[in-house]
Subunit: 240 residues, 2 copies
C-alpha cells in the first residue's frame, strides 16, 4: 500500500524540476537562469540532480542552452490547432512571416508504395519536393511533398516558396477538400537536424497527410518533421 495521506513524497529530481519550472514562470522569456552551482545551493540538491532536471527541461523546450553563455528561458511553443489551415495561413494569423525554401524538386516513378499512397499507378510520375518551412526566418519544419505529376504540370522550385495550397488553387484550379493526417513522435536524423538547426535526435513531430479534392482524387502525400522544441498541438475536447 502507498503513503496515502502521508506527507508529500517526491523524488529529488521531480522536486527540483518543479522548482525550476516555477523559476522559469517568474523569470520570463529570454532571461538567463542561475548557474547549476547556484541552483544546487538554492534548491539544496546535488549539481547532478540540477543538471538532470535542466537537461529534461531543455529537451522539452522550456530552456535553451547557449554554448559558453548560459541557460535561458525559451519562448513558449507555437500552439497548433488540428485544422486544415496551411502553414502559411497559420503563421500569418499569428502575425509571423511564413516563408519556404525549396531544397530540391525532382521527378521520380511512384513505385508500389508511393503509388498506393497517391492512388496512381507505380509507373506514373511523381513530383517530390523537399522544402524548409520558416516562421520569422526561423526553421520550423522540413517537409517532403509528393504530388502526382499530372496535378502540377510545369511546376518549378520557386513556385513552392509560398503556400502550396494557394498555388494549387490559383494556378491549377484545384481545391483540397478532405485530408487524413497521422501524427507520431520521432527524433530528428542527421539530415533533419542539420536542416532545422537542432541537435541530432531532438524530439520532433512526424506529420503524414494525404489530401484529396472533392472527387476523392489524391492531390498530395506530405511527410513533415516539425521541431518539438518550438511546436505543440492544442485541442479543446468535448465528450464524444
Amino acid at each position: 500500500m502507498e503513503a496515502i495521506g502521508a506527507p508529500a513524497k517526491m523524488t529529488k529530481q521531480s522536486a527540483a524540476r518543479q522548482q525550476v519550472l516555477e523559476l522559469i514562470d517568474r523569470l520570463g522569456v529570454g532571461t538567463a537562469i542561475p548557474s547549476e552551482r547556484q541552483l544546487s545551493v538554492d534548491l539544496g540538491v546535488s549539481r547532478l540532480t540540477v543538471r538532470a532536471a535542466l537537461d529534461d527541461l531543455a529537451r522539452e523546450g522550456y530552456l535553451v542552452r547557449r554554448r559558453g553563455s548560459g541557460t535561458y528561458v525559451q519562448q513558449p511553443k507555437i500552439s497548433q490547432q488540428l485544422t486544415m489551415t496551411s502553414f502559411s495561413e497559420d503563421m500569418r494569423r499569428r502575425g509571423m512571416a511564413a516563408s519556404s525554401k525549396t531544397l530540391s524538386l525532382t521527378r521520380q516513378l511512384a513505385g508500389p508504395r508511393l503509388g498506393r499512397f497517391l492512388n496512381v499507378s507505380p509507373g506514373d510520375d511523381v513530383v517530390v519536393v523537399k522544402r524548409l518551412r520558416l516562421a520569422d526566418g526561423v526553421s520550423m519544419a522540413i517537409e517532403t511533398l509528393h504530388i502526382p505529376a499530372n496535378v502540377v504540370p510545369g511546376v518549378e522550385p520557386r513556385d513552392l516558396e509560398g503556400s502550396f495550397y494557394e498555388l494549387l488553387r490559383t494556378r491549377y484550379g484545384v481545391e483540397i477538400s478532405t485530408a487524413t493526417q497521422t501524427i507520431e513522435p520521432t527524433v530528428t536524423n542527421e539530415e533533419e537536424s542539420a536542416a532545422l538547426g537542432v541537435p541530432l535526435h531532438s524530439p520532433a513531430f512526424l506529420f503524414e497527410r494525404t489530401s484529396r479534392d472533392a472527387s476523392s482524387r489524391t492531390l498530395e502525400f506530405v511527410h513533415s518533421i516539425y521541431r518539438g522544441d518550438r511546436y505543440q498541438i492544442v485541442s479543446e475536447l468535448t465528450p464524444s
Copy 2:
C-alpha cells in the same frame, strides 16, 4: 536550379528505406526480415546504409529488434483519434483489455504551479497518482494524475486500477464536460523507459490534459507519456 524532369535522384539511404518499407508491407507482422548482410547484397548498398535505414525504421516503430534473434516486422501502431474517450473505453472498443497499475498515490500541497493548473490555492491538498496504462497486458503509457483532494475524498490506489472517469462518475457523481489538451513530442527519461520497457530516449508523446466539469471546476491535470513505437494520432481534416 534543381533537376526537374531529370531521372529520379534519391539518396542511397532513402532508396534503401523505401525498399525495406515495401518488404515490410509484403512480409506482414511478426515475420523476420533478412539479415543486414543479406539486405546489403539484395539492395546493392553497403551494410552501413542498410543498418542506418533499419535503425530509422526501428525507431519509427516499423521494425522491432530482438537481441540475439533478429529484426521483425512490428505490429501497426494503435491509431488514436483525438476525442475525450478514456483510455479504458478506447481500448475496449478495439477489442483489447485495458488495465491500469497504480505505481504510487500520494498527497501533497499544490504549490504555485500546480495550484494554477488546478485552479486551487497553493496551500490546498492535491492527490498525485502515478499509474501505468496497459493494453492486453503491454505497457502503453505512464500517467501522472493530479486531482484536487476534495474532488476524490478517500480515494485509494486500487480505485485507480480501472477508468478514472468512470470512478469520478459512479463514486463521486462528477462528470467531465470539457478538456484542453496539449501534445508534444518527447523522449523517455530513465524512469519512463524502465516503466514502459523501452530503450532510454525513445520517441514518445507527451499529453497534458486539464479537464473541467460543466461549472468549470477543474477536476484533473494529467501528464502522460505514450510510447511512440506503439501509438499514433489520426485525424480527418476538413476545411476550417
